[in-house]
């Protein structure tokens, strides 16, 4: 598959997943606002929701930062590096033992 086609396919899949997710989230967030406004007792729901939103916001920022640093460009690179380094540790240890 050509790079151009893959690029557009990714965008379409991205939109197909994100659009309902954003709509669903907005709908539920509206629910939360209505609960808080309409019922004083409902305000306690804010605590767990705010906990979740803070954690999620942090992870969105982290995900964007990671992507900007190129972590998703060579997906299998870190795995190869880790494996090669471990093999070298083993080799060094064997050489030390022989000495």
């Amino acid at each position: 598959m050509s790079a151009h086609r893959t690029h557009w396919l990714t965008k379409i899949v991205f939109a197909l997943i994100l659009t309902p997710a954003i709509l669903g989230f907005a709908n539920k967030f509206l629910d939360l606002v209505l609960v808080v406004q309409g019922d004083e007792d409902g305000a306690f729901a804010v605590t767990p929701i705010v906990n979740y939103l803070l954690a999620t916001a942090g992870f969105v920022c982290l995900l964007l930062w990671t992507a900007a640093r190129g972590a998703f460009q060579d997906l299998d690179g870190p795995s190869r590096v880790m494996f090669e380094n471990e093999q070298r540790f083993e080799k060094l240890a064997r050489e030390t033992a022989l000495d």
Binding site: P48, V81, F89
Partner: protein
């Protein structure tokens, strides 16, 4: 190509293991972990006897069953799991980042401080100072010290991870997240309900805390560990590092909302309960990506699982993890919950997660690392095999028994039978659970004895011959 890749190719840049890892500290953490595991399992057995009306320590307030039960859960979470994870991180993080931890003296300070925190928690619970939060019973006066300890852990391990070059390996993502999550989760669960919120809100936070303790402390440290050790033992990289990142980010986004599924059918607004149910079911798909990745990595070398004991531990844990998550996706539905809530099904589920997955993984890592650190074979490798079969077999029997017993209890309550009837029908299940627990306990004692004799053997033979870490025998090759 990243700079980390360059460092792996250029032989001159690879530091020696001895310059990176403080082996002695890893061993000390293992000793502490096994000590607390013994205490925890002893407490579990006492509780099991109490359920069968054979409490061997009646009329002693300090040793009353309710307090022993809290010692059982706290010692396993903060004594065994946390200590073993800390020891393993002292091995994994420096080798992955090619950098030592921030400070070795700080590492030793954390070790002693953490043992003091866990011991003080146990003593505080026994003397009736438990905080009214499940899994967060640590007396309130210990919380600031525990938080300070977790902060120091995050700084000590975070420094080499943040300074590591290039895109991070997935283990480091999990570890980095766990360092932040554990501190925040502990603070949320122990401080919010105590000082800031009350009533249903505190209940909701308690639910988040219970589940986040498993999902944001134990799970990332456990999977991070697996992504490191499995490729090493299989002698091949992970099938797909991309898929492993899907697992990580999926955990990050789906897990934090799940905890409220512990409080279905409560005054907590239904949209929050539905959100918890949906995110729990969604996480099952994320779990599937992780399982597929590990099965894909194993593909073609499945016989190694039969021959290599640590690998067998790892893949047994992975199987239990799949089962437990599948169970979780089903049991959080409102229909299922109506039957199993408050029953022993939940206890069986909890044992399958804590022992069947994470404890087995840690015991597998210990089985692999102890001979490498002590530079000698296990005193008795056959005892290691017995340890595996008795631990995993005992757990299988215990979890199945409790899950089945939970169904019978639920049906009894649903049929509006008297409470006594459900107690009566539970006795055979509790008897089987006690026997399974005794088998598991005997297995751990055998492992501890084997560990001690191996250590003694290593100190005796050290002056005669010193095998290389890389050439460490048994189970790892």
């Amino acid at each position: 190509m990243t700079s980390a890749t360059n460092s792996s190719i250029d032989g001159q840049q690879c530091p020696r293991h001895e310059d990176l890892v403080e082996d002695r500290l890893v061993l000390w953490y293992f000793v502490a972990a096994l000590t607390f595991m013994t205490i925890s399992m002893l407490a579990g057995i006492l509780m099991g006897l109490q359920l069968l009306r054979h409490n061997p320590l009646p009329a002693i307030e300090v040793l009353s069953p309710g307090r022993w039960r809290m010692v059982h859960t706290n010692a396993i979470a903060y004594g065994f799991l946390a200590n073993a994870f800390l020891g393993i991180m002292h091995w994994v993080i420096p080798r992955l980042t090619l950098r030592p931890v921030l400070s070795n003296p700080l590492s030793y300070l954390i070790f002693f401080a953490w043992q003091a925190v866990v011991l003080a928690t146990a003593v505080g619970i026994l003397f009736g100072q438990a905080q009214g939060v499940e899994w967060g019973e640590t007396p309130v006066w210990i919380d600031p010290f525990a938080l300070l300890g977790l902060l120091l852990v995050a700084i000590n391990f975070g420094a080499p991870i943040i300074n590591a070059p290039g895109p991070l390996y997935v283990t480091l993502w999990y570890y980095l997240a766990a360092l932040v999550w554990t501190f925040l989760t502990y603070a949320m669960g122990n401080l919010l309900p105590e000082y800031f919120v009350c009533g249903s809100s505190a209940g909701a936070v308690g639910g988040l805390f219970i589940h986040d303790l498993v999902g944001l402390f134990v799970t990332p440290l456990g999977w991070g560990m697996m992504y490191y050790f499995v490729p090493i033992l299989l002698k091949r990289p992970m099938w797909s590092h991309g898929l492993s990142l899907v697992g990580f980010w999926g955990l990050a986004f789906f897990y934090p909302l799940q905890g409220i599924h512990h409080f279905l059918y409560t005054p907590i607004p239904m949209f929050l309960q539905y959100g918890a149910v949906l995110s729990t079911i969604a996480l099952e798909f994320v779990v599937l990506t992780v399982i597929v990745n590990f099965v894909g990595t194993l593909y073609g070398t499945g016989d190694l699982v039969l021959r290599n004991l640590p690998l067998r531990y790892f893949y047994t844990g992975i199987l239990f993890y799949f089962l437990t998550c599948l169970q979780c996706a089903l049991q959080v539905t409102l229909t299922f919950q109506a039957l199993i809530h408050f029953t022993d099904w939940v206890v069986g589920h909890a044992h399958m997660v804590m022992f069947g997955v994470f404890s087995l993984w840690q015991l597998g890592v210990m089985t692999y690392l102890v001979p490498r650190i002590l530079k000698t074979e296990w005193y008795n490798p056959k005892w290691c095999e017995w340890h595996y079969w008795a631990s995993s077999g005992g757990l299988l029997v215990m979890a199945s028994d409790l899950i089945l017993g939970g169904l019978f209890q639920g049906w009894s309550w649903a049929a509006l039978q008297p409470w006594d009837a459900s107690i009566h029908l539970s006795i055979p299940f509790w008897s089987v659970r006690l026997v399974a627990g005794l088998v598991m306990f005997a297995a751990q004692i055998l492992f501890v004895v084997n560990f001690y004799l191996t250590w003694r053997k290593s100190t005796r033979s050290f002056s005669v011959t010193v095998p290389a870490t890389g050439a460490a025998p048994a189970f790892g090759q």
